[in-house]
Symmetry: C2
Subunit: 347 residues, 2 copies
């Protein structure tokens, strides 16, 4: 599946290359995107995801044009371990939103894609109806780059989708690795998808994820599984009560849903709307987005600065030596870091 998607991406890149220089005019691409052209959106996303320097230059230019027109959407993060039914939920929930007249974009941050463990959203066959709808846009996780970089690019793709007129953006991620913090930092509301199990409802979910969730959904609450799901919902609600309220003042909810029967989806959406309205009343919604901008700028500076530091050949060599000395108790951490920073600054 992944190869197929990669193939699709390469095709698009090829097409872009074949375009005349006039067509690759970033201003023109941005204008088409702003007019709601999904092909222009797809091309722009591909440019953002590309690791080629020449593409990055064009991508930055497109971004510059569309940024002032971004921001007008509700950004919804969705996480959950493999098996929780994320794809089926997104298909069902996405269709529900389309019926409400929403324009729905689906993006993904997949930290596992880089290590070749297969990617999420790769299997579009489970999202047939959603993918085919004119008011939806689905994009799998980019397959290259480091985790932080991938997440940053996904955030930029949110802006592209918003500028193209999508008002509800679903950002999918898996409940492992560092990607949750990154996704939490680019969305307005964060959903955790769970399923009933024998006391291990959240097995496979990284420690700390549950406390990030604004709403925990017990999915697959249908048929024989309904009673077990109700029990799981109560267990989770109890656990959520052990946590203090989040900074936003919102008290996390636990809800039941079935993606197959499309039940509970309305309640999910009502809760999200309640969340949005509560946070907009307290001005936390806007504040949160401003804090997120600051956070990403800080992260980006840190990433660029430390990358430059860590890739410096002389630093690399010396760091290895000093690390061993620190572990052996021959050198203090302060002294080792001081020496390395001074060495960097002298270069």
């Amino acid at each position: 599946m992944k190869d197929k998607n990669q193939g699709r991406r390469s095709d698009i890149i090829e097409k872009i290359k074949q375009r005349s220089k006039e067509e690759l005019n970033p201003q023109k691409l941005a204008n088409e995107l702003l007019a709601g052209d999904k092909n222009a959106l797809a091309s722009s996303v591909t440019l953002i995801e590309s690791v080629k320097d020449s593409d990055s230059v064009i991508a930055a230019e497109v971004l510059r044009h569309i940024l002032p027109h971004s921001g007008n959407s509700l950004r919804i993060g969705i996480t959950g371990s493999p098996g929780a039914g994320k794809s089926t939920f997104i298909e069902a929930f996405g269709m529900f939103l389309l019926k409400l007249g929403k324009k729905v974009a689906v993006l993904a941050v997949d930290p596992s894609s880089e290590s070749g463990k297969g990617s999420i959203l790769g299997d579009k066959t489970r999202m047939n109806d959603l993918a085919a709808h004119p008011d939806s846009f689905i994009r799998p996780s980019p397959s290259s780059g480091n985790s932080g970089g991938v997440a940053r690019k996904t955030r930029e793709c949110i802006f592209l989708c918003e500028a193209a007129g999508f008002d509800t953006i679903l950002i999918e991620t898996v409940g492992v690795g560092q990607s949750e913090t990154a996704v939490k930092s680019m969305v307005d509301v964060f959903l955790l998808l769970s399923i009933a199990g024998a006391g291990d409802e959240l097995q496979g979910i990284k420690r700390g994820i549950m406390e990030m969730a604004d709403i925990v959904l017990v999915n697959k609450a249908d048929g024989d599984n309904l009673n077990r799901s109700k029990a799981a919902k109560s267990d989770i609600q109890r656990a959520l009560h052990l946590f203090p309220p989040s900074d936003s003042g919102w008290i996390p909810l636990s809800l039941l849903c079935s993606s197959i029967n499309s039940t509970g989806l309305e309640e999910v959406w009502n809760s999200i709307e309640k969340f949005e309205s509560q946070l907009k009343t307290t001005a936390y919604f806007k504040q949160n987005r401003e804090n997120q901008s600051k956070w990403w700028l800080k992260e980006s500076i840190q990433e660029k600065l430390l990358n430059d530091f860590n890739q410096h050949p002389a630093i690399k060599k010396e760091k290895k030596i000093l690390e061993k000395k620190v572990q052996a108790g021959e050198l203090s951490v302060s002294e080792a870091s001081e020496r390395l920073v001074q060495l960097y600054k002298s270069k």
Copy 2:
């Protein structure tokens, strides 16, 4: 109380200043410390905590001498919200350990001390017996410096205590702010102190803390409170079961104790010993300490490098301007950070 401690610290600093240069010989101080001299230990801790450059130079020298003799202790982190009874627990548990023949040092990382909200371990009156015992050493949290810096210094104080012969180090912190991650990264085992309440057992504890704990203690399990404490213990045990096992393979425990009646302390200690022996069998114990060294070196480099970056006048000025532009959607995060890093490197 804080003023009194600060006064005490200034007194010690004054005494050190008054010593002849021969007495301030770092090698001599280190030798006294290695011989188990508690005054030499106190002076060395004061030097580590000092923000004066001249003190830092001596402190670094002392550290260099004692580092090869550090490491021989069990490092126990203790966190819990105000009101959970941390001071009384440490007094009771410390006395219990002394009776087992242990040499007990108590340190604290207090992120609130810098903002003037009062400091933990400031109230030594609640630790009278422990403070008076010849085999114990108690040191309040340093009152100045940034949070990361304070934690780093506390970690260095652990090494000083170990070199002076203390084999059991308790590191206290409060369940708020970023200090828990720092404390978790300097201890072998992490305890969370909690008390029974009406469904809000961990009220006041920062989100994510419970998932860091190796052992959760329900304190004040005595008198009228016993039944409620038993219920709280079950609730917590249920919640802990919702989390996946930690990297160490240890399954977190919930235990009852009463600091006032000194009950449950033996069970706490038995669990800690079981934890230690299990982790030493799998070599995770040593691995964890090596990872901690690496983590602190990485943190320290990052702190020093970013401090230097952020304090650069030209960077400061430009960052403010670009931050506003990013928040207003006039500039992308990537472009803003790239410009700032290039500006820094050109200086």
